[in-house]
């Protein structure tokens, strides 16, 4: 394992300190407990938005803190959900009197720790609503399982919920918009190489020189199936099929098409993927009206990508276009 780290135990604290130093115009960093909060929090009268989860998915979530998006992000250890205490502290730090929305990816650990934090916040008089993001179609949804995982679609939920809070929606309305996005966003990913958790020092899985993992999660957890490497276009088709058939997306839909890099994929490859995905959508009569391409929901240095499609309507489009000012996503200001 070769990494630009000092003591693996300090990866998160040092990275968060560096993040705070690099983006002091946007965020303040609390070190004990660890969370990242926008400089001007709490914003009086505005619904606060908090997200978080294991580290290793950067820029999600710290890079998404700022006006128009998250009020705070709570990073846990690498690939391990944060404990309730920093979530609670961040929640209190962003409560401007209008309550706080927790945006939680659907993993048992995240769900349980955010749940505890929400209970504790409520006990302290902070109104909290939680939404669960579960956009990954690689995993079959079922009442009898932990359900689908939350992956790159989370970025879109956070942007749009952030815009709703920014325009002054109340907690219930912000939560409803977030839930509407969750209902209309679907994703699926592929890995070409594994990732290495710093304190583990070993790849969490191995892939032969000609193998790829379809339906990979964002923690290097095994996916849907392991197949031989194929041309990019064929891989895109394999991911888009289950995504489009799920809601389903149909001719005439307007969508946001998001090609997300897993951290170690060259940008040329992401655009080769985008090209094919846009082509397939056009063939199906689905209109791509908004786009996003880049490393947003990563799995450390994993090579691979995910495709996310979000069905847009006028309101969601307006909220997507609204100004945002974060380290990773910025426009309109």
């Amino acid at each position: 394992m070769k990494k630009l780290v000092n003591d693996p135990k300090n990866v998160v604290t040092e990275a968060v300190a560096g993040f705070g130093a690099a983006h002091a115009d946007l965020v303040r960093v609390s070190t004990d407990p660890i969370y990242i909060v926008r400089t001007d929090a709490p914003v009086a009268g505005k619904v606060g938005i908090v997200s978080g989860g294991g580290s290793g998915h950067e820029p999600m979530h710290g890079g998404l803190v700022g006006p128009g998006m998250l009020d705070a992000a709570v990073p846990g250890a690498v690939f391990t959900s944060p404990t309730p205490d920093p979530i609670l502290a961040a929640t209190k730090a962003v409560d401007g009197g209008a309550g706080v929305l927790h945006i939680v990816k659907n993993y048992t650990g995240d769900v349980l720790n955010f749940e505890t934090a929400a209970d504790l916040a409520a006990a302290d008089g902070v109104e909290v609503r939680s939404v669960l993001v579960n956009d990954d179609v690689a995993v079959k949804d079922s009442l009898y399982t932990a359900g689908r995982r939350g992956v790159a679609g989370t970025v879109l939920v956070e942007k749009i919920a952030g815009a709703a809070a920014d325009r002054g929606d109340d907690l219930e309305s912000v939560a409803l918009v977030a839930e509407r996005v969750i209902g209309q966003v679907r994703s699926m990913g592929v890995a070409l190489t594994p990732c290495v958790v710093p304190h583990a020092g070993q790849p969490s899985f191995t892939l032969a020189e000609d193998e790829i993992e379809i339906g990979i999660g964002i923690h290097g957890e095994p996916g849907r199936e392991r197949i031989k490497l194929e041309p990019a276009d064929a891989i895109v088709d394999r991911l888009l099929g289950p995504i489009l058939d799920d809601i389903p997306f149909v001719a005439g839909d307007k969508v946001l098409l998001f090609v997300n890099g897993m951290g170690g994929t060259p940008q040329v490859e992401l655009y080769i993927v985008f090209r094919r995905a846009a082509e397939v959508l056009a063939e199906r009569g689905i209109e791509v009206t908004r786009t996003l391409v880049g490393n947003f929901t990563t799995a450390l240095e994993m090579q691979g990508m995910s495709i996310t499609v979000l069905k847009l309507d006028d309101e969601l489009t307006t909220l997507w276009d609204a100004p945002v000012q974060t380290a990773a996503l910025r426009w309109g200001r």
Binding site: G54, G76, A77, F79, T80, S81, P82, T83, P84, D85, Y107, T108, G109, L112, N113, E115, T116, A138, V139, K140, Y144, T145, A146, R149, V197, H199, A200, S204, F205, G217, H219, G220, E221, P222
Partner: protein
């Protein structure tokens, strides 16, 4: 000799021994979690139980409820992930049910452990056969209760619980996961022991060992 009570010291020793076992087996637990999870269960449990024992050593508990509530809170605030809140809730409930006492008798211990299991179910909604720590915890406590019907000896009840725990742990191999991260694998989760089931089996191994040793 029949041990029909368990002392605060022994219970403290139980947690310490559990810390030792998860630390010794950190790679084994992480390997199990690599196969069907995210390769952190070993480091999660080691970090959490390390913090628990450090806290106990820094300020020893005066009563059983203090001991376990402290352990539970420490796990909740130092582990994260799924196992942090689940093990944390387990010990919190054990402590609350045990109350501010210096010693537990056999039925007292059984009731406290049962409350812990109820807490795990309340948080995680696991059922039998979901391939989780529940599949060790539930049969182990049943075996513990059954043994107490025959004799009030905690030591032999703990032995029975440990043996049921091992059986439960091994039985998770054949199961299809329906809770936690492993559930995302569907059919591909079959053929691997559940990491949380394995660490819970170590919990009963620690209890059995600490009672035999005395």
């Amino acid at each position: 000799m029949v041990n029909d009570t368990i002392s605060l010291d022994q219970l403290t020793g139980w947690l310490t021994r559990f810390r030792d076992l998860v630390t010794e087996q950190v790679s084994y637990l992480t390997e199990l979690d690599s196969a069907i999870g995210d390769a952190d269960h070993g480091s999660n449990m080691t970090r959490g139980m390390g913090a628990v024992v450090e806290r106990i050593q820094a300020s020893p508990a005066g009563t059983v409820d203090e001991l376990f509530k402290g352990a539970g809170m420490t796990l909740v605030t130092s582990v994260g992930g799924a196992s942090g809140p689940l093990y944390g809730t387990f010990f919190l409930r054990v402590g609350t049910t045990a109350g501010p006492v210096g010693t537990l008798d056999a039925p007292g211990l059984a009731a406290a452990l049962r409350a812990g299991l109820d807490g795990v179910v309340a948080r995680g909604k696991a059922e039998a056969g979901d391939k989780t720590m529940f599949d060790v915890l539930a049969p182990a406590l049943d075996a513990f209760d059954d043994a107490l019907l025959v004799s009030s000896d905690i030591s032999s009840a703990a032995g029975a619980a440990y043996s049921a725990a091992q059986t439960g742990r091994d039985a998770t191999e054949a199961l299809l996961a329906r809770k936690g991260r492993a559930s995302y694998l569907g059919e591909r989760s079959i053929g691997h022991i559940d990491p949380g089931a394995a660490s819970t089996s170590l919990l009963f191994q620690a209890l059995a060992e600490i009672l035999v040793k005395e």
